[in-house]
C-alpha cells in the first residue's frame, strides 16, 4: 500500500507534480498577462473609444491606429525623450554603481554598513522619491534645499521643473533615478567583483602591473564583462519603462508638459486618461513593445549574451 502510494505520487508521476506546482502560476500568467496582451493587440486594430469590446464589423480600422500613432509627433517626440533620458541615465548609473562597488569592495571595515547604506534607496518607492525631489529639494521657491544653497552664493531661485531653457528638469529626473537605482546595480557589480580570482591580481602584481587604473583596465573590467552586459541590458529596459518619477515630478491636475514626456506617460494619457482611446493606446503599446524587444535582442546579440565565455 505504502509503496503503491509512493509510486503513484513519486518520481514516476513527474508530469502530475509539474502541473501541480507550475499549473497555478501558468494559469495566472495566462489570464493576467497573455490574455490582456493579446487582447491589446486585438484592440489595436479597432476604433475602440471607451470600450474594450468594439463592434467587429463597424469599428475595424485595420492598421489606421498604427499609422496615426507613428505620424503623431507627440508620440515620436516621446520616443526622443526616452532616447535623451537613456543617454543620460544608462552611462551615469553604470559609472556610479561600478564606482560605488569598487569603493565598497576595497573597504576593510564596515563593508556591510556601507553596502546597506548605498543599497537602502533601492527600497524607496519611485513615487516617494519623486515627491521628495519635487517638494523639498528641487522646488522653485527660495526656501527649497537646492535654491537655499544657491542663495548662499547670491543666485536667484531656479524653477527646476518649470523651465525649458536651460532644461534643468533633466537634472531633477536623472538624479532621482540615479539615487534610487545606483545601490541595486552596485550589489550586482559587487557580486561580480567577488567572483574575480585573487590569483589574477597576484599574477598581475608579479608581472609588474601598477595597482589602480592599470589593474582595473586590464584585469577587473574585463572580468566584469558578463555583469556589465547584464547591467546595461537591465538599465536600458528600465529606462524604456520609465513612468513613475516622470509622472510624479511633472504632471499636475491639468495635464503634463510636452517636454520630458516618455512614451509610457503619453500612452497612459491616450488610453487610460479621460481620452480612453483604447485602440490607439494599444497600437502605441504594441509599437513600444516591439521597439523594446528589437533593441534588447539587438543589444544581446551585440554583446554576445548567452555565449560561452572564451576560456
Amino acid at each position: 500500500m505504502k509503496s503503491g502510494l509512493k509510486s503513484r505520487l513519486g518520481t514516476q508521476n513527474r508530469t502530475l507534480w509539474f502541473w501541480v506546482f507550475v499549473g497555478p502560476f501558468a494559469l495566472g500568467l495566462g489570464i493576467f498577462t497573455y490574455v490582456p496582451l493579446l487582447w491589446s493587440v486585438y484592440l489595436s486594430f479597432f476604433d475602440a473609444h471607451n470600450t474594450v469590446t468594439p463592434d467587429v464589423s463597424e469599428d475595424f480600422v485595420g492598421l489606421d491606429n498604427y499609422t496615426s500613432m507613428l505620424r503623431d509627433d507627440s508620440f515620436t517626440d516621446s520616443l526622443l525623450t526616452f532616447l535623451v533620458f537613456s543617454l543620460f541615465i544608462v552611462p551615469a548609473t553604470f559609472a556610479l554603481s561600478l564606482a560605488l562597488a569598487l569603493m565598497v569592495n576595497r573597504l576593510r571595515r564596515a563593508q556591510a554598513f556601507f553596502r546597506s547604506v548605498f543599497f537602502l534607496p533601492a527600497a524607496c518607492s519611485y513615487v516617494v522619491a519623486a515627491l521628495v525631489w519635487k517638494l523639498s529639494i528641487f522646488n522653485g521657491v527660495r526656501f527649497g534645499l537646492a535654491n537655499t544653497l544657491l542663495g548662499w552664493f547670491d543666485t536667484d531661485p531656479v524653477a527646476w521643473l518649470s523651465t525649458t531653457d536651460p532644461p534643468w528638469y533633466w537634472l531633477v529626473i536623472v538624479t532621482a533615478r540615479l539615487w534610487l537605482q545606483a545601490g541595486f546595480y552596485m550589489i550586482l557589480f559587487l557580486a561580480g567583483l567577488q567572483r574575480i580570482s585573487p590569483q589574477l591580481y597576484e599574477a598581475a602584481a608579479v608581472d609588474g602591473a601598477r595597482p589602480g587604473w592599470q589593474v582595473f583596465r586590464h584585469i577587473t573590467f574585463p572580468q566584469l564583462r558578463a555583469t556589465s552586459i547584464a547591467v546595461t541590458l537591465l538599465l536600458v529596459i528600465n529606462a524604456f519603462q520609465a513612468f513613475d518619477e516622470f509622472y510624479n515630478l511633472l504632471s499636475d491636475s491639468r495635464g503634463y508638459p510636452p517636454y520630458a514626456r516618455p512614451p509610457l506617460v503619453y500612452l497612459y494619457y491616450t488610453a487610460l486618461g479621460q481620452g480612453q482611446n483604447l485602440g490607439l493606446g494599444s497600437a502605441g503599446a504594441v509599437i513600444l513593445a516591439l521597439i523594446i524587444a528589437v533593441v534588447t535582442i539587438g543589444q544581446a546579440k551585440w554583446f554576445g549574451l548567452g555565449k560561452k565565455e572564451a576560456a
Partner: protein, 418 residues
C-alpha cells in the same frame, strides 16, 4: 481511528463540492441588487478636500427611503477610475462626473436624464448646463458650480502704486512692477499657466475654444497676440514657478510668495481667514476687443447605463439634485465654498451676498464661460496645452503653433461630430 484513503478522498471531494456550490449560491457576501426589498444603489463621489463633505453625502443618502444607497468616496485619479469602471459591470449606478464626456455619451455609457430636469431647466446656470447637453438631451445634473478667478493682495499693490489690472496689458505691467527679489508678481500655476488657463485668455479676447456650430473658435490672429502676452509674463520673470503647492491651493498667495494668484472660488474662505480684508478678486482681464472672463464648471450627477436598476437610480438622482434644495445649499456652502448650481439657490445664499464672494458670483453670472465645452475633448485639450507650453516656456512662435493646433483640433472635432 483509521481513515481509509477512499474515505479521505470522498470526504475531501464532498467538502470541495459543497464549497463550490456555496460559492455559486446566494451567500456570497455580494449585494444582489436589493436590500430588504429595496433596490441597492452604488453612488460614487471624488474625494472633496473639505472636512465634513463625506459625512454630509452619507447623511443625504441615509435620508433617502426608497432605496439603500451605498456611497463610495474615491481618492486619487477619480476621472480615470470612473472612465475605467464604466467599461465594466462593477461600476457605479449613480456617480458624479465633471462631464459626462462626449465619448461617454456616444458610447452609451450614461443615460438620458432630460425628463428629470425638464421642469427646472431654466433655473440652472446655462454655462454649466450646456456642456452636459448633447443634441438637446441632458446627461448630467449640475451639482455645484466651481469657478476660477484672480486674487490680489491689496497691501502689496498699494506699496507698489499699482491699481488692480483691468486689461491684460495692465496685468503684464502690474506683475512686473510687483516682482521683487522675494515676491513674484503673479502665480498661474507651476507650469506658468499652460494647464489651468486653457481657453481663458481666448475668451478674454473675444474668441472661444469651440463655436456653437462645432468649429474651432480661435482661428484668428487675435489669439496669437493674446498668448504672446502670457509669454511676456514668463519672459519678464514675473511668474512664480515651482511653488510647493499648485494654483488650486492658495498657500503661495497667503505666504506672500506672490502678489496675484489665479485660483478657485473654493480658496476664498481660507484666504479670508488668513488675510482678512487685505485681498480682492478679479476676473481674468480683457484683451483688445474682448471682455473680462471667468471659467466655470460643475460636477454633475449622472446615471450609468449599466445600473442594476436604472429607474431607481434616476429617481434617486432626481430626489437628491433636483428636489432636495436644502441639501444642495448645504453641500455647496457648509463645508467648502462653491456656488449652488441652481440660480434661485445662489441668489438666496447668505454667504454669497457680500464682499469678495458677491463679486465672484457676479463674475460667474456676467463673465462665466464653460471651462470645458462638450466638444472640447481630452485630445483637443492636450494638443492645445502642449502648444501653450511651447509658446510660453520655449518662446515658440504663437502664429505657427496655433496654426498647427487649429488643424489638429479641427480633425478631432470632425471625428467627434460623426
Amino acid at each position: 481511528m483509521t481513515i481509509s484513503r477512499r474515505h479521505l478522498i470522498a470526504t475531501t471531494a464532498a467538502g470541495a463540492t459543497a464549497g463550490l456550490l456555496s460559492a455559486c449560491g446566494s451567500n456570497t457576501g455580494r449585494d444582489e441588487g436589493s436590500s430588504g426589498g429595496k433596490p441597492v444603489i452604488e453612488q460614487w463621489y471624488h474625494q472633496y478636500g473639505e472636512a465634513g463633505t463625506e459625512q454630509a453625502v452619507k447623511r443625504y443618502a441615509d435620508a433617502y427611503d426608497k432605496a439603500d444607497v451605498k456611497i463610495q468616496w474615491r481618492p486619487g485619479n477619480y476621472d480615470q477610475q470612473l472612465a475605467s469602471a464604466l467599461l465594466t459591470k462593477s461600476g457605479p449606478d449613480v456617480f458624479e462626473s465633471p462631464g459626462p464626456s462626449l465619448d461617454q455619451i456616444k458610447a452609451e455609457q450614461v443615460v438620458d436624464l432630460t425628463e428629470l430636469i425638464e421642469d427646472v431647466k431654466d433655473d440652472f446656470n446655462p454655462a454649466v448646463l450646456a456642456p452636459k447637453t448633447y443634441e438637446g438631451r441632458i446627461y448630467g445634473i449640475p451639482q455645484v458650480i466651481d469657478m476660477q478667478l484672480l486674487y490680489y493682495r491689496k497691501s502689496l499693490l498699494d506699496d507698489a502704486g499699482v491699481e488692480p489690472p483691468q486689461t491684460l496689458d495692465e496685468l503684464v505691467d502690474a506683475a512686473k512692477a510687483l516682482t521683487s527679489k522675494k515676491v513674484k508678481g503673479l502665480f498661474l500655476g507651476n507650469d506658468a499657466g499652460a494647464g489651468v488657463l486653457g481657453g481663458t485668455p481666448l475668451y478674454a479676447t473675444g474668441l472661444e475654444l469651440v463655436t456653437e456650430d462645432g468649429k474651432v473658435g480661435f482661428d484668428d490672429p487675435a489669439a496669437a497676440r493674446t498668448l504672446a502676452k502670457i509669454r511676456q509674463l514668463y519672459a519678464d520673470k514675473s511668474l512664480l514657478l515651482g511653488a510647493p503647492t499648485d494654483w488650486s491651493d492658495p498657500s503661495a498667495f497667503i505666504q506672500g510668495l506672490t502678489a496675484l494668484q489665479w485660483s478657485g472660488l473654493w480658496a476664498l474662505p481660507q484666504v479670508k481667514k488668513e488675510l482678512g480684508d487685505d485681498f480682492g478678486v478679479l476676473p481674468f482681464p480683457k484683451d483688445g476687443a474682448g471682455k473680462a472672463s471667468v471659467p466655470v464648471g460643475a460636477y454633475g450627477a449622472a446615471v450609468s447605463a449599466r445600473a442594476k436598476d436604472k429607474d431607481a437610480a434616476k429617481a434617486y438622482a432626481k430626489w437628491l439634485w433636483v428636489e432636495k434644495a436644502e441639501y444642495q445649499e448645504d453641500f455647496a456652502l457648509s463645508y467648502g465654498f462653491h456656488i449652488p448650481a441652481r440660480i434661485s439657490l445662489a441668489k438666496k445664499a447668505g454667504k454669497l451676498k457680500e464682499g469678495a464672494a458677491a463679486d465672484a458670483v457676479r463674475f460667474a453670472t456676467e463673465s462665466g464661460f464653460a471651462a470645458q465645452p462638450l466638444l472640447w475633448t481630452p485630445k483637443c485639450q492636450t494638443d492645445y496645452s502642449d502648444a501653450l507650453n511651447r509658446i510660453i516656456k520655449d518662446g515658440a512662435n504663437p502664429e505657427s503653433e496655433l496654426k498647427a493646433v487649429v488643424r489638429k483640433v479641427a480633425a478631432e472635432l470632425d471625428r467627434v461630430k460623426k
